[in-house]
Assembly symmetry: C2
Homo-oligomer: 574 residues x 2
């Protein structure tokens, strides 16, 4: 991508385009070919126009453009669009309808691919954006919204909150949605314990509907250092409880003064509000890779059962000290148990516990959080109060927190005792003894590749491949390096790390948030396929194991081998 | 080893032998053959007797006996020996000399193998123990003393402090050592900065004499949960300084009250004495495995640049608080620097630093240690005072401690800034930027196999192979599992872990000591060779990488890939 890299090529391109409304053939040959096609078949009805073009040649140009445009703002797209409209107007007759056609949701839903056309809805209007897909500054990600509403996606990417974006969209309007279609989305079954579940972002890839377990598309995950709450992975064990903030009480047991009952407003007013940025990861993240070795029990998570958010709330340490925790209590107490308000049909609540010293340490940063990303916790993330135990497996970050117990023993819950533990690859369901392994608390070093996607292609002429991903380690250990290979691990390159507070190191032992990383690696001469591999190193110099097999375990947890993605290298078409 | 396992076979054997002074042919066929050989050529002169026997058949029986006897006390050896003397006396004529021959050290040194005879000295007497080697309860380890003095080895193994051991030895006396030989060992060169170095245990395998760097033989390392100080690995960067405990002063800088000077007796009397058991490991432990991938810079350590000891001294935290450390100091100070009294020719002292929060945390357990294994620190280990930073790389455990500086920056020393850091395998000496990597503090998860040795053999008829080793992780993370494979990592078995306080878990985050482990693994059907592999898991579920290549780095540090040992499976001779 030497010529077309955003850092060089795009500024050049903008300069050239400000001098001329036509794209210069000599400098951007790919775009010139593209323009020729567009101008000859612009704006046919129903989104089926350009169909033949896309089927035959579109794939290649889409990739070229996606590569060209990824990472830029909407300005360039707007300019491209404007030019296109001008050319279109001058070379073709636009059919005009007097009243807009009315579509049902079913009709819209059928149009979710370049082959069938890409339709979207926005504020009750229906748009056919098939031909805009290739110009979308965010690349192929626009296809996530295909067949449904744009709103949830635009909410993720602030760049759409610009007038010219609506102006672009208006050009693609083909009709309106009938009102019934919208209402139908809201219907629920009152007999289903899951009937009260909140609505979820349509981009989420659902691993289980009841209880709801879903992860964002891997391609979207590393777009934001702070994961928007709507696409933050959801890992529910039970139905989402409906909690009235007025009657909500947090009970605290095991302190010398007896049981304490705390209201939400007391929690907010009596204790300073602390904010941390912390990554949560499900113990089963990347379980699907273990399933490929040998079947395991559990949800088939991809690489995105991990997300990063800011969390605000009261310090658990301060709350416990306020209500009477003393060093004498610590002589017997060794654990802090948490119980959720989410219950199964027998009334058993979700439960977990953490070590007392994590909870009581000033550097532990354990929060009774009531805000996520600056807003009230969403229902899926534990409204009104959840525990955030930074550096510790998601399962201990109990949501819809109802009870805290200071205890000499761990939580007796199934999830603490007989789940969320690691075993040897040689241990099977006949031989497993859950007592023999410690409950997972801190997680090991982890990293994965979010771009490019498995099975995608790069052009040999691009000379480089841009690779992106995330890296994180448990226990507050800071990621200090990510090594990337494009030849399966024979040679390695060091990626550039990004975090929100670039240049400022987190306090030692308190690196709770992930780092995103990126690198441009030269394509090896003559390679037909790349095996892209990443592995991260934390500041205890722990690193990821090479392969999945030797860390395979019957529950499919702790899957942190090198992440591997295979990508084809395509020879340039002449 | 089903028939001959110590836990079953030996008690049987002892029972039988109490009924008869001859070994029963029917039950212990191997021993019977052995007896036959011994009785026909017992006690010829100069240790060359039995030579032919050992060359032809001895190897096999030595292995059988070493396997049989390993792990038992001296009682059985004594009984075997007694019986042997009786048989010998009844079947051969003993030559008797009136005055003992006198030998030089050179003559003794020549006899350090079964081929040339195994001679040892003890309190000025010379012994030819060639034929006792196979009966030694500690197996082949007796050969470590071959050609030299027994005293240092007997000091390691308390089991020799029994009268019957001397009785056995006396039977093998062949003469006395001339007095000059002993004195010569003590001579030194006053012009050599290393002339004042302490004497060292002869078992140590020396990687560098000046400065002195040495490790115990791997076969000995896991014999003791607490490594005897004499064979605790030595890693000196400079000559060992001679420190007078009367004039010794520890200077502390960077506290509000100005520089503090503390005497040894003040350190001992003003502060409570704390004792911890902590494993220290050199960053370069197992570097030799990296050297096999590609040459690195550094001492060619095997797997034994790691040892475990008890350490007693003042708490660094308590000392700093006593001399005026306050939370206000921590606003600017982030590091605690240490400076040794060991200096190079320019007067530059060894130096290193650790994070302030490690030093000040109650759970950090950082000691200003003046005792090792219950005695004054030996000269090689920092007499009179060293820092012990449990869970942290050896290099920060500064010996012969002269100065502590509370500072906002890390130590400026070469060893903190431009050494003891980890890099990507793709980084070479042309591209390395030492500023880009953090100084190693906590070390990653580690384990290695101490038994059997690379290149040794097991008998197919033994049916099982006994495998032993150590496992440890930095940062106080407890080792929770060791997986062992005998087929290169295809199938795995879980080893049994041993620690001194079995059954009692260390406090969370304060598991400073290693665990020794052991397992009997069935021999795979038809295997000609075993590739024995171990990997450990700590309670953050970090594990070791599969292979060395992808963690190779130009300094050869942090070598913690799976340890692999190849062992031949020999078919039983008929």
């Amino acid at each position: 991508m030497q010529r077309l890299k955003p850092s060089q090529g795009l500024s050049q391109l903008l300069l050239i385009r400000s001098q001329s409304s036509r794209i210069s053939k000599g400098i951007i040959p790919l775009l010139s070919v593209w323009d020729g096609h567009l101008s000859s078949r612009w704006r046919s009805t129903g989104g089926h126009g350009g169909q033949k073009y896309f089927n035959n040649n579109g794939q290649k140009f889409r990739f070229a453009l996606a590569g060209l445009l990824a990472g830029t703002g909407a300005v360039l797209a707007y300019k491209l669009h404007q030019s296109k409209v001008q050319w279109a107007a001058s070379s073709a007759q636009l059919p005009v309808t007097s009243s807009p056609p009315v579509y049902t949701l079913e009709e819209v839903t059928k149009h979710r691919s370049l082959d069938n056309g890409v339709w979207v809805t926005y504020k009750g209007d229906v748009y056919d954006i098939t031909e805009f897909v290739a110009m979308h500054p965010g690349g192929d990600k626009i296809l996530l919204a295909a067949g449904g509403a744009l709103e949830p996606y635009w909410a993720l990417y602030a760049v759409h909150k610009e007038e010219h974006v609506l102006e672009i969209l208006s050009e693609y309007k083909i009709g309106v949605l009938n009102p019934e279609s919208i209402k139908r989305q809201e219907s629920t079954d009152p007999l289903d314990p899951y009937s009260g579940e909140p609505s979820r972002h349509p981009a989420l890839q659902i691993n289980s509907l009841k209880p709801f377990n879903a992860e964002p598309p891997a391609s979207v995950l590393a777009d934001n250092y702070i994961t928007p709450s709507a696409i933050f992975f959801k890992r529910n064990h039970l139905p989402v409880p409906k909690v009235d903030p007025e009657t909500y009480r947090l009970e605290i047991e095991g302190l010398p003064g007896g049981v304490v009952s705390v209201t939400l407003s007391e929690l907010k007013s009596r204790f300073p509000k602390h904010t941390i940025t912390a990554t949560l990861q499900c113990a089963g993240n990347r379980r699907s890779e273990m399933n490929k070795v040998k079947q395991v029990k559990g949800l088939n998570w991809g690489i995105a059962a991990i997300s990063n958010a800011t969390w605000s709330g009261a310090s658990l340490r301060e709350v416990l000290l306020h209500y009477g925790f003393t060093p004498e209590v610590a002589i017997n107490a060794k654990h802090i148990q948490f119980e959720g308000l989410d219950k199964d049909v027998t009334g058993t609540a979700y439960g977990a516990s953490i070590n007392l010293n994590k909870a009581l340490s000033e550097e532990g940063d354990v929060l009774l959080a009531y805000e996520m990303n600056g807003e009230d916790l969403p229902p899926d993330h534990g409204y009104p109060v959840r525990v955030v135990v930074p550096g510790v497996v998601g399962a201990r970050n109990v949501k819809w927190l109802g009870r805290i117990v200071v205890s000499h023993e761990e939580s007796k819950s199934h999830w603490q005792q007989n789940d969320y533990k690691g075993f040897s690859p040689g241990t099977d369901w006949d031989t497993v003894d859950f007592k023999s392994a410690p409950a997972i608390q801190e997680l090991p070093i982890q990293s994965a590749i979010t771009h490019p996607a498995e099975g995608s292609s790069v052009e040999r002429g691009d000379e480089e491949v841009t690779i992106k991903g995330y890296a994180w380690s448990g226990g507050g250990r800071e990621v200090v390096r990510v090594d990337v290979s494009v030849d399966g691990g024979n040679t390695w390159h060091v990626a550039k790390l990004h975090s929100s507070d670039l240049g400022r190191n987190p306090a030692p032992g308190r690196a709770w948030a992930w780092k995103l990383w990126e690198i441009d690696v030269p394509l090896p001469d003559g390679a037909q396929e790349l095996e892209i591999v990443c592995k991260a190193v934390d500041n205890s110099y722990n690193t990821q194991p090479d392969t999945v097999g030797p860390i395979w375990n019957l529950r499919g947890v702790l899957s942190n081998a090198w992440h591997r993605v295979k990508v084809k290298v395509k020879d340039d078409q002449k």
